[in-house]
């Protein structure tokens, strides 16, 4: 039994909902609320919430305070009331009544929506089975825009040259060593210009591979480097294999 009761208590969505329930249950005229009776019943409900260990939301407590405040203001003697501001001449219940009526309107209309929703539950739809999306060529493009894009590319390319990534596999140092050796063997006097090693190379990874190949050959004592004076051409010699 208590479980069922708990469920019923919980069913109140908020203090206004609970108040409307009490008003209907007691057939109270919403425009002339006996505030003392209503407050008492409201507080009773909160007590029951606690007895069943239902967490009472702060909104319910704020409403309790509001009800008590209205009650005390009604109990004030008439002379004291008159001394107050003009606004206070208004019925202290007015604001609460306005809120209750506003809330009740939406509660009623939500019942109509509920019926509408139920009637729609008898209609069935189907999933879309649309053909795949097709992109048509864009329209009205300006050749200037294309031209500007290409300028961007060219500018980007200039600044990009410094940071171009080294691809390891494309140019191996091993291959470049063989290339340099064959260049030397096919040259007059087994001698070539340093710059000849790098001619026809226009990308960074290949340059690096060739340079490393040179260093490697020097280390292996296969070649020699000679420069007569500063800024003069650098020559590469093939060493005699002893």
């Amino acid at each position: 039994m208590s479980e069922e009761y708990k469920v019923r208590l919980k069913a109140f969505e908020g203090p206004l909902d609970l108040l409307l329930h009490l008003i209907e249950k007691n057939k109270i005229d919403i425009y002339d609320i006996p505030i003392a009776v209503l407050t008492e019943q409201y507080l009773d409900y909160l007590k029951q919430f606690r007895e069943f260990n239902i967490e009472v939301a702060s909104e319910f407590l704020i409403m309790a305070a509001t009800l008590l405040q209205i009650k005390s203001r009604i109990l004030l003697p008439a002379e004291e009331k008159a001394e107050d501001d003009e606004i206070d001449l208004e019925d202290p219940r007015q604001e609460l009544v306005d809120r209750l009526i506003e809330y009740r309107r939406f509660k009623e209309v939500s019942n109509i929506l509920n019926e509408l929703e139920e009637s729609q539950a008898h209609l069935f739809y189907r999933e879309s089975i649309l053909p795949p999306v097709q992109h048509l060529p864009p329209q009205g493009l300006d050749i200037k825009v294309l031209w500007e894009a290409f300028q961007n590319v060219l500018e980007g390319q200039l600044s990009q040259k410094v940071i171009q990534k080294v691809s390891k596999d494309k140019f191996s140092v091993q291959d470049k060593m063989l290339v340099i050796l064959s260049l030397l063997q096919n040259s007059v006097d087994y001698m070539i210009l340093f710059s000849e090693v790098f001619s026809n190379i226009n990308n960074r990874p290949e340059l690096i591979a060739s340079f490393l190949a040179l260093l490697e050959l020097i280390k292996l004592n296969r070649i020699d480097i000679k420069q007569n004076y500063s800024f003069s051409p650098i020559y590469i010699y093939l060493r005699n294999e002893e």
Binding site: S119, H122, S128
Partner: protein, 168 residues
């Protein structure tokens, strides 16, 4: 009528497009003006009624959608697994407030219902029944909420003016 032969493409378009099909898209694809699209839809609807068909066309906002007639729902319920997606009373209340008072802020909803609305608003957003429609020009610029076309569809309304009158 010159566009009589457009009835078949219109029907097929509504068939493959499960969601509401905007009238503007129909105008563009069929190449006839709005008035004629409306006449064409009406004729198709009439045909469907006369021929005792199981389908019908519904107008939702500025879109049309094909669906089954309510009379045959009993058979369809046996065909599909119906997932109960009914809205709770608090969700319906909140949705009513948003429908009639849109655009409205969370705070304004909470003032009317007297309770916090965060989780219900999230639930309604998740089900695409409401959406953010802007920010109120007051301190804190709170989000304003309004209803969606899916809201209209769920409640069988063709537009917001179809909402029942607010009591009192």
């Amino acid at each position: 009528m010159f566009y009589e032969k457009l009835k078949a493409p219109l029907e097929a378009m509504l068939f493959v497009n499960g969601n509401p099909l905007p009238i503007n898209q129909i105008i563009e694809i069929l190449g006839i003006d709005k008035e004629n699209v409306e006449m064409l839809v009406n004729e198709l609807q009439d045909d469907m009624i006369k021929a005792n068909r199981g389908l019908m066309i519904k107008k939702i906002a500025d879109s049309y959608q094909m669906c089954t007639k309510p009379q045959v729902s009993g058979y369809l319920e046996r065909l599909t697994e119906i997932t109960d997606k009914k809205l709770s009373a608090p969700a319906l209340e909140t949705l009513s407030i948003i429908a009639f008072k849109q655009p409205i802020t969370k705070q304004e909803i909470e003032n009317i219902r007297g309770v916090r609305a965060d989780s219900i608003i999230n639930k309604l957003l998740e089900r695409n029944l409401i959406q953010e429609v802007g920010r109120k020009k007051v301190v804190g610029r709170p989000i304003l909420y309004g209803t969606t076309n899916i809201f209209l569809q769920c409640f069988g309304l063709s537009d917001l003016s179809d909402l029942p009158a607010l009591p009192l």
